[in-house]
Symmetry: C2
Subunit: 141 residues, 2 copies
DNA sequence: TTCACTGCAAATGCTTTGCAGCGCC
DNA sequence: GGCGCTGCAAAGCATTTGCAGTGAA
């Protein structure tokens, strides 16, 4: 018999949690746990890798973060934005990212899923390529 | 010496490769490498786990298979029914998958990327939800 | 015959977990 | 003061890889 502690989840405001939160707040795009951990170390915030994993996991469970899977299965997180859903165009060489609005695609996704009888639909769209700068660099040689 | 040594692809028709092919042909939906390996063992086809990984990887590189990432980052495969690029609508409960054509989205992705100066564009679109059957089951239950 | 393919097992790399001490509430 | 949180390091998993023998072409 479990006793529900008031409110459902006590989350303590620790230095580590604050560091992770702030780091995420300063980022525009998705980042992997490993990279975030490296970033924290660069900034002089000492948070162990295990704790980074635990905090990120905890935050995503609380709905404070968006979780995605990188191409190689790595979990990547982003501060849960925002008011509205959008996607990204990412340079696979330098990592530059552009935020995209895709009303047409959103609509298509919903419509298509509904047409197949699906409910509670969610979607992920990622576009990768070489940004203008990297394309030029490559063309130059 | 082979006529085309370039890049690739002499693929020998081995017992193991045939076993994997046939197993995939008998499946409707996505399956993980581990599960496929277990299935092969059940059927009495002895193919080592490492080889299962190698064959699946090889087949997906040749475009004979669709690859997806399960919720926990596991790679899951399915025989590729369509010949050209397409996307999937996957039930997050039972794993049922529907292949989608998305000319509009493809076009949008290309156009948008180009507008931002991106080249060599690639994209990933995944739509998840509850399929009709699972939706009904939930409504009933 | 040749060389890709296999099996085996050790190695990787990401993520999780047991345990003891620390700090937030 | 209690107990969740941390750090550390070892464990756990899926996946990859080195090596030598096997079999397809």
């Amino acid at each position: 018999m479990s006793v529900r502690t008031g409110g459902g989840g006590e989350v303590r405001n620790t230095r580590q949690r604050r560091a992770v939160s702030q780091a995420l707040a300063s980022l525009e795009d998705f980042i992997s746990t490993q990279d975030l951990h490296a970033l924290l170390r660069e900034r002089g915030e000492s948070v162990s890798l295990a704790t980074t994993y635990r905090i990120l996991q905890s935050m995503s469970e609380l709905g404070e973060l968006d979780v995605l899977r990188g191409g190689d299965g790595e979990a990547i997180y982003r501060r849960c934005a925002a008011e509205h859903h959008h996607h990204h165009l990412v340079c696979r060489r330098c990592g530059a990212a552009v935020e995209l609005e895709a009303p047409t695609v959103e609509e298509w996704a919903g419509r298509t899923a509904a047409a197949h009888g699906f409910t509670e639909v969610d979607h992920t769209i990622e576009i990768t390529g070489l940004c203008a700068a990297c394309s030029a660099r490559r063309a130059d040689g």
